[in-house]
Symmetry: D2
């Protein structure tokens, strides 16, 4: 039964908006109701409708911050999915670093939705503009503000939309915390807030490259059950071209094909899959990271686990390293021809005692499957 279409179009305004207290229904015959199986579909969708509460609710003042990352190179992102735009301020970038919109645009283009059939269909040009902090083609040492207007704004008429808690989305918890549904397309929980991160990341990458020839690369190492074996990619030789050579961004073309097939199979029936990203940093200066709480792997874990949909983080030997003995796991030191201290193996993943040792940092991040799933294409408008 087409209960999806029946999802209530309950008007909701902020003035009468309650917070996370239970709601009494005024459209449903007693209590909430579950939306279950659809004819002709093998997917089970569940949406619970929470009726609107009548009593007015005085202004809550539970605020919170958490939109800033970093101490000396500090990034604050802003913007919701369906507001005016998204962006960031980068504070602490040293002066006289050559910088322009194109440095960021190339990364934003890599991120852009609608670029292939396997990604979100949303159409955004995601064109960035630098508002401050750059003069004569170089940074001034002052805050760099970057703005990326939202152009594709689906389903703007939200007063008409069903306002239900979509399973595994942030709707419920945002409501618990803010008393605001952040109707605007999932608000800050939307993946569009990562645009500000990507723009700032572009600046950081450039700085690291110029400063110490450090490179940061990431690729898809698993999609659903299709996994890239450990010994296929040589991290010392990996290039961005290898990664960008296919739409799933896996450096091995054979595995890449299998990954695309796996995604297609699931996508066409409206479902989604998860996977794992491997991220490396090469030529990392030694000595980064501050025990005890700001150990480098701890900061990296926080940064990566703050991305949407992440469920796990590993560095070096990760969970499999916990199955080794000490004599198997230890990385031997030796001095190379240039007189540098090196390790023969790298189960530490480039970090020991919370501080980088100069070896390549290797991390893996697990992503759960996207919560936004659909039955039929024409229903897509209600989702994100």
């Amino acid at each position: 039964m087409m209960k999806a279409a029946a999802i209530v179009q309950s008007p909701w305004s902020l003035n009468q908006k309650p917070s996370h207290y239970p709601y009494k229904s005024d459209l449903v015959d007693g209590g909430g109701f579950n939306l279950s199986t659809f004819k002709g579909s093998s997917i089970k969708i569940q949406t619970t409708i929470f009726p609107l509460q009548k009593q007015p609710h005085k202004l809550e003042v539970r605020a919170s911050i958490g939109n800033t990352f970093g101490n000396l190179f500090r990034v604050t992102t802003f913007g919701e999915s369906h507001g005016g735009g998204v962006g960031c301020i980068i504070d602490g970038c040293p002066p006289r670093l050559p910088l322009s919109e194109s440095d960021m645009q190339v990364e934003l283009d890599r991120r852009r939705p609608g670029q292939s059939r396997i990604t979100t269909p949303r159409k955004e040009s995601d064109t960035c503009k630098i508002l401050s902090g750059v003069g004569q083609g170089s940074t001034l040492g002052t805050p760099i503000a970057v703005s990326v207007p939202n152009t594709d704004q689906r389903g703007n008429d939200y007063s008409e939309m069903a306002l239900a808690y979509r399973p595994s989305h942030a709707d419920a918890t945002y409501d618990f915390k803010y008393g605001v549904r952040a109707v605007e397309g999932g608000g800050r929980s939307s993946a569009r807030e990562t645009i500000g991160r990507v723009a700032a990341g572009a600046v950081a990458k450039k700085l690291l490259k110029i400063q110490s020839a450090t490179e940061v690369l990431a690729y898809v190492s698993r999609v659903h059950g299709v996994e890239l074996p450990d010994d296929v990619v040589d991290h010392e030789k990996l290039t961005i071209e290898q990664i960008e050579s296919n739409i799933v961004r896996c450096p091995d073309p054979v595995i890449a094909e299998e990954m695309i097939k796996a995604i297609d199979m699931v996508r066409l029936r409206g479902d989604s899959v998860g996977g794992v990203i491997t991220c490396i940093a090469r030529n990392v200066p030694r000595g980064l990271g501050s025990p005890v709480f700001d150990k480098l792997e701890a900061e990296l874990a926080k940064g990566l686990m703050s991305l949407p949909a992440t469920k796990g983080f590993e560095i070096g030997s990760g969970f499999s390293g916990s199955k080794m003995t000490g004599s198997e796991h230890n990385d031997e030191f030796y001095i190379d021809d240039s007189g540098n201290v090196r390790t023969r193996t790298n189960r530490s993943g480039g970090i020991q005692g919370g501080i980088s040792n100069g070896e390549t940092i290797v991390m893996r991040v697990a992503f759960k499957p996207t919560s936004t799933i659909t039955l039929f294409p024409w229903l897509r408008q209600w989702w994100h």
Copy 2:
């Protein structure tokens, strides 16, 4: 051959950076030497000695911080393994929370080394003392300083010791960063710095318990290859008594026995093993966590990955969740009898969109095997 005893006073350097401790070498015939296989042992030990540079080195001013965690409930730890003592300052604890040394001492006793044959043999009483912030048995709202003197200080005469970079220890990286070997027993990289964390954690646990009946529990779920299956422990009913019922702290007595056997087998030959800890938080208030960068799972990841020897972190479904499809992974909402919003499953691990939803938070942390391994018991005095 007893080369282990011969690892002694070899001057070393790191490129051109000496520390400020003089070493007298008496075994080296110019330059460093490698210590490799020992007769009668299956363990291969490698220690490289780095010769000391002659020129004095002007005062470096590379400082760093990283000894503080938290914004509103803020903990700063201090203390090295072989200095006067360790401890912490807790700032931001609300006033009028009943508190005394005994609240912390019970947790420190759980942590104490030398409590069973399977842990470090070091003998410390680890008795804490509150220096400030408490009056008449309750907190005053002012900083709570806690001090735990070091009593067992092995091998104090470090000028006699070999000062080589122990493989996979923090020696090398501490030297890279600080130009200081932190000879005092591994300094801040030693596990003894966790004493300050445990003391502060005791205060936090009490506060959470009184404020919202929140409980935090952790147990060993894997040692080397011996693993507790997922469905054995019921997180809603788990108690501290179950965890404390055996020396390996695994709630299932049968698996616990196998774990102890696995440790014994490896320990007696001087090697070490890694494993996994599962940590849960029950009755968590909803609404904790601040997107985007301070998502609750990101903060938890940072806190846990800042512990010594950690190599991986998972929340909820973790890495295995990345193998599911969206329809398999999503947690259904429903309203329970008390009118609360609940989820039927909990693959999210109690956190959605970076904010707690009230369900139990479930995390797993992977620990690599300890880097400190020994050949023979009598050599143990030189290690940690």
Copy 3:
């Protein structure tokens, strides 16, 4: 002699640090030269030209931050005087506060240059635009980004301008710190960066008003030698209308006239004057401020002394209070009719022990005369 027009393209350096802008000198006969007295003027202007160094300078990485204020209600400002625009991000504003551009615009209009003959002649419309954080007329609890484009950009062709260290401006120190002259109109040292503060301040004022009926008002209490006596303004009854009733913003019309005369007298000969602002906060909730380092008066001092051109700060009795004895200075407690704890006098200025006590907070801030002074109106284009 018209040496003012002759201050032009002289290469300069600071020890050996050039900026990255090329300058062509055409007036200097080797080395720098001083510009001293002008015929027909009683003003002595001095500008020193520093010769430019030849050797290239490798990329400095001395960065710094300092563009953020606040912990829970956190403001980051961006923008230079002659870049694309200025603005701010406000993080931590609670959700569901009614907010729109007009709330900020009214404050920006009060600040706008060119509004009267006694202020800077620059013509800016200073129209703000909210980029994020507001939906359906209320805040969402997410970061609020505000952008104010620069429209009047005088003297854009800076390669032609004299690039000397203007006395008492920030040119020299910016150069010391960043190696960048921040040619764009004084960059971040320009008063235009206060636009971001004013926009954020408008949001804070609204929040305080709604939350606790707190009001914040400021007025000019001294200009040069013309001073408003202490007993003229009743702080409990002061209104914004009284303050806005004249162009110098002094609540007493008679003194206001004298102030305007004093400014005119000095302005017409190209000089500037300083003065004092008195700022009050009424109906402040009790209990704000955190000993020891974040005492409320310390935070206020930091905020106010971070404004351009400030040279002194007082709270309550200020410097004159230091001339009293304890028995003269103490504020007596009493209980008023509503049962509230009050003080009969308020030499404390509303803060005791670093915490607000509910009485009106009274502060005074001293501003030095503007460093930007001119000989003749037509020269004004080279200055700010």
Copy 4:
């Protein structure tokens, strides 16, 4: 009448402790009472007794932090006046700085109460002990914990004491904020918390001296009405010996005598006086301070205004500078013989645009008279 002796000995416990609600007296005939004039004394003392509230008050959880100062060199102080002890943790001190207790002890001895008749009579030895962060006579780069036990604890039996709000003390506001009277001698509002600051300051002074030959000196420039004229002290030549040459720490012996007389006159009748401290910093590296919010003068203002009893702050020309015109106020640049950029005058006080320019930083801080005043010596036990 000896009502002072009649100050109520109302038992007070934390369990029935209300917060800032009015108390009902059980010794006074209805309502509070004022303690007014004493026979034979010209001082008027007022103390209001607030009756104790009966209803229990549930546990407040209003916590706050504010016990930490600094970003890269970070100090957290702890300790109350009548608890176990006071101290600090210094985080971020670079490694290999020679340091021992004696470096701090010399400063603590300068601070110690009871050192002369004109200071507080409390007898404390204030002996500090380093608990961590130092090894072999040098810093390790890890947190330095310093502890100073309280030895003189007057009037320990507080359950017997009257618990009234002493005028102009922090009693009332601490109660408003924390719901805790901080009976222990004024708790954190006591001047004893400055011990931690002094210990940390000793480390900072040593570091600055070694790093850049920077010196920090402070002296008393005004006591009550006795003022040191501006031109008497040459800041470029001032020495610590000149300052320490008399008990009032004024570098001019003649003025010092008048100051001592002024204090004596007031002290003997149980009253107190305020004054002004002038503080200078010589050989300050150029480039310190971060516009816009962390301007150097703003940070200095915050640090100094966080000291107990401060009411005003000035830098450079201060309030008097606001009476000058621009042409009078500007500091001319010139290049000295070594090729350094210097200013001929220093009304800026060493800071321009929020950044240090290398000239001596000159600040003045106004202190109100101490709130603790007494009638007769034998009453002193009830006060602090």
